[in-house]
């Protein structure tokens, strides 16, 4: 049944439908409404679980780790500084192969302080060994949350569900919440084979000498790569059950004969699709939305780019002094591929900067430019900066030479 729900409220209800045993919670904007809504569901008796209000995000992740290791379906949510404070725990959760789900309400990282949306937080922990799924809208946030609980127990890998802060978390949308029966059919009871149990005592988290560490990393890496299958399978099964799929690893949309592609992650996809429709005079681009950032769907990406002359990678974070993060990975995936498109890489929408429909025209223009843009940040208003801080050579107006 479709109902108007705020993104955070819908995510909280989706979490509750998954019957978590332990939820750990620490407030941070723009994630707070999620844990508030879960707390209310617990207070009203609609969700039976241990709700642990911790004293930091470090402990939020640690409580979830301990709970999952002790056999509980565990959940927490955070954003921005919270994700960074959790960072070492996130690595530990993944390295120990602990299944759990975390919602990241994507937000910029300080300094300067910004409570608004970009993707720097989840990018900062991309190497932690988690599965990272980015959501296009709130319906997908609901569906992906439910799928995440299934994926995590199928893979013993933690899953981070990334939703754009404010843009999704604080926006009311018509949402089709599944029924409890649907979710119960989809999601079997939580069983963790390595759970801490006095009848079968395991030592988890032992020291690994150089003789073993490499093998541990290898098997973890292999497991994250192999998780692609579990992600695709969960999405397929959920589609059969609910009628809604989320695109598996990535979603491609646009004319088959398009020569220009735009690659993005998260909710900006809706803006780009609307703009493409609203601006019929411009070339109609193929829009590729990465849903799974980890595992990185290199093969699916190559297929999605086939036939394109140009790909503009639009991202919401950067690695200062290098390039964009997604852009670098897309270039690596396309390297050596015959007839690979040229990759232009820009960041936009940093720290909540608006991304209007005209963004589409900017990206098309960039795709058509002779000069290759290794990386630049869009919409920099140089005149706001003192002369010595302008670095015009790094702005999109003065890009590097034509390499074609």
């Amino acid at each position: 049944m479709r109902q108007a729900l705020e993104g955070s409220q819908a995510i909280a209800r989706a979490v509750a439908l998954c019957r978590p045993n332990v939820v750990s919670a620490y407030p941070i904007t723009p994630q707070t409404h999620i844990v508030e809504n879960i707390a209310k569901l617990v207070a009203d008796g609609e969700l039976k679980c241990e709700y642990v209000s911790v004293e930091s995000e470090h402990s939020a992740a640690s409580v979830a780790l301990g709970a999952a290791a002790a056999g509980a379906r565990a959940y927490t949510a955070s954003a921005s500084q919270g994700i960074l404070l959790m960072c070492e725990v996130l690595y530990d959760i993944a390295g120990l192969r602990i299944p759990m789900v975390l919602t990241c309400a994507n937000r910029a990282v300080s300094a300067p302080l910004s409570i608004w949306n970009d993707h720097q937080d989840s990018m900062a922990v991309r190497d932690a060994g988690w599965i990272q799924l980015f959501c296009a809208d709130n319906q997908e946030a609901v569906d992906t949350t439910i799928q995440a609980f299934r994926i995590t127990q199928d893979t013993d890998l933690p899953v981070m569900v990334c939703v754009d802060g404010f843009t999704l978390t604080h926006t009311l949308e018509p949402i089709d919440l599944p029924t409890q029966d649907q979710v119960d059919d989809f999601l079997p009871p939580f069983v963790f084979a390595r759970a801490l149990d006095p009848r079968k005592p395991l030592s988890i988290g032992t020291l690994a000498t150089p003789e073993w560490f490499t093998e541990a990393r290898h098997s973890h890496h292999g497991a994250v790569l192999a998780a692609s299958d579990a992600i695709v399978a969960a999405d397929r099964d959920w589609q059969q059950l609910s009628g809604r799929g989320c695109g598996g690893l990535l979603q491609v949309d646009g004319p088959e004969d398009a020569r220009i592609g735009i690659l993005c992650m998260g909710s900006v996809v809706g803006t780009l699709q609307d703009a493409r429709e609203a601006m019929p005079a411009l070339p109609s681009a193929r829009i590729i939305r990465l849903r799974s950032f980890r595992p990185f769907p290199a093969q699916a990406l190559r297929e999605a780019c086939s036939g394109l002359d140009q790909v503009v990678v639009l991202e919401r974070a950067l690695s200062p002094g290098a390039t964009g993060i997604v852009g670098a990975e897309v270039r690596a995936a396309l390297y050596g591929v015959a007839n690979a498109p040229r990759v232009q890489n820009v960041a936009a929408g940093l720290g909540g900067r608006d991304m209007p429909l005209t963004l589409y025209a900017q990206l098309i223009e960039l795709a058509q430019a002779a000069a290759t843009t290794d990386f630049a940040i869009l919409d920099v208003e140089l005149d706001k900066l003192p002369a010595e801080d302008r670095y015009p050579e790094a702005a999109v107006a003065a890009v590097s030479g034509d390499r074609s």
Binding site: N21, V22, S24, C49, E50, V52, S53, V54, E55, S56, H58, S59, S62, V63, A64, L65, G66, A67, A68, A69, A70, G71, A72, A74, E88, V89, D92, L96, R194, L196, D197, P198, R199, K200, P201, L202, S203, I204, G205, T206, L207, A208, T209, W212, A216
Partner: protein
């Protein structure tokens, strides 16, 4: 990574044999005379088999495991340095949610308790999770090679508070973690020493009976860091108690409810002289003499504060506790 040990007997059988149950067994890599290894054995055998351990990073974690070996016969999880309190909270919440009676133990050293893990410990006890938190206090970061912690006693020389021409070891006081913990409306917080195993066992069992957060601070010599012969660990630990420097007390909801009386107080120099970390205090200088007087005053203050001076025979005093452990009421 995880290692497994098959246990073929039932939990009920193990419980019946509880005094002899061993949760932490030989084969680990602790140094000769390690107080922490001894204390961990005493705590786990007293706590019994129906437990799960959250272990902070530190010596205990390192010497008890190295894949694929493990000295633990109870379920055991090591996560990180500063989150034992939070990991234990999560484990307890999971057992509670699943209707399981297993008691959670949290093990950490003084670095993981007084310093970097203090916040997660405070959170755990503020929320009153049903966890027995045991701090094995060897008074410095021993695992990284003897650096001062906020538990390091005043004037002790460590690699980051070395004694030299200008300094007489650590300049600051040892943090009074027991009182800080007790200030959280703690049902039960107590100190113990590996030199008094019967007392330690009793306190573990007392804590195990309490539904809620409990805290045990176990004074555990480190021959490497304190610089004494490994064969003298118990003697040194005993002197820490009989001088009054380490008061053995119990606090319930912040009130003093138990203490180990000292029948014959020993001068602090007996304790200090036995350890290399205090040798600079025996230099022929006014400053060194002043420090010795200062430390003696700290011991005297403890004795006054907790009324530790014992008179007459008391089975639980610093002399009697020893007798009891060799006598017939060993498991009392």
């Amino acid at each position: 990574m995880s290692a497994t040990t098959e246990v073929s007997v039932s939990l009920a059988e193990l419980r019946e044999n509880q005094p002899r149950f061993q949760g932490f067994v030989g084969g680990h890599r602790a140094c000769v005379g390690c107080g922490q290894a001894l204390a961990a054995r005493l705590v786990t055998e007293s706590a019994g088999p129906d437990v799960a351990v959250a272990n902070a990073t530190g010596c205990l974690e390192v010497f008890s495991t190295a894949w694929p070996d493990s000295a633990w016969r109870v379920p055991w999880l090591h996560s990180l340095f500063e989150n034992a309190g939070a990991i234990a909270s999560g484990m307890e919440a999971a057992f509670k949610a699943r209707g399981q009676s297993t008691k959670v133990l949290a093990f950490a050293g003084d670095g993981g308790t007084f310093d970097i893990g203090f916040q997660s410990l405070s959170g755990m006890i503020e929320r009153n999770h049903n966890v027995l938190y045991v701090c094995y206090d060897n008074e410095a970061y021993m695992n990284t090679g003897v650096q001062r912690s906020s538990s390091t006693p005043h004037a002790a020389s460590t690699t980051t508070s070395p004694a030299g021409r200008e300094r007489l070891g650590k300049r600051h006081m040892k943090k009074d973690i027991l009182q800080i913990v007790a200030a959280h409306h703690m049902p039960y917080a107590a100190t113990a020493s590996v030199a008094y195993p019967s007392d330690l066992r009793k306190k573990v069992r007392r804590a195990m009976e309490i539904e809620g957060s409990t805290f045990l601070l176990v004074h555990s010599p480190c021959p490497l860091g304190w610089r004494h012969d490994g064969a003298k660990s118990i003697e040194v630990a005993r002197l820490a108690v009989t001088t009054g420097l380490v008061p053995i007390i119990e606090l319930e909801r912040g009130a003093l409810t138990g203490s180990m009386p000292i029948r014959e107080q020993r001068p602090v120099v007996d304790y200090l002289r036995a350890q290399g970390r205090f040798q600079h205090l025996f230099a022929d200088s006014a400053e060194a003499r002043e420090e010795l007087e200062h430390i003696q005053a700290l011991a005297d203050y403890n004795i006054e504060r907790y009324s530790l001076r014992g008179t007459g025979a008391d089975a639980r005093d610093t002399e009697g506790a020893d007798t009891v452990s060799r006598g017939g009421v060993r498991w009392a």
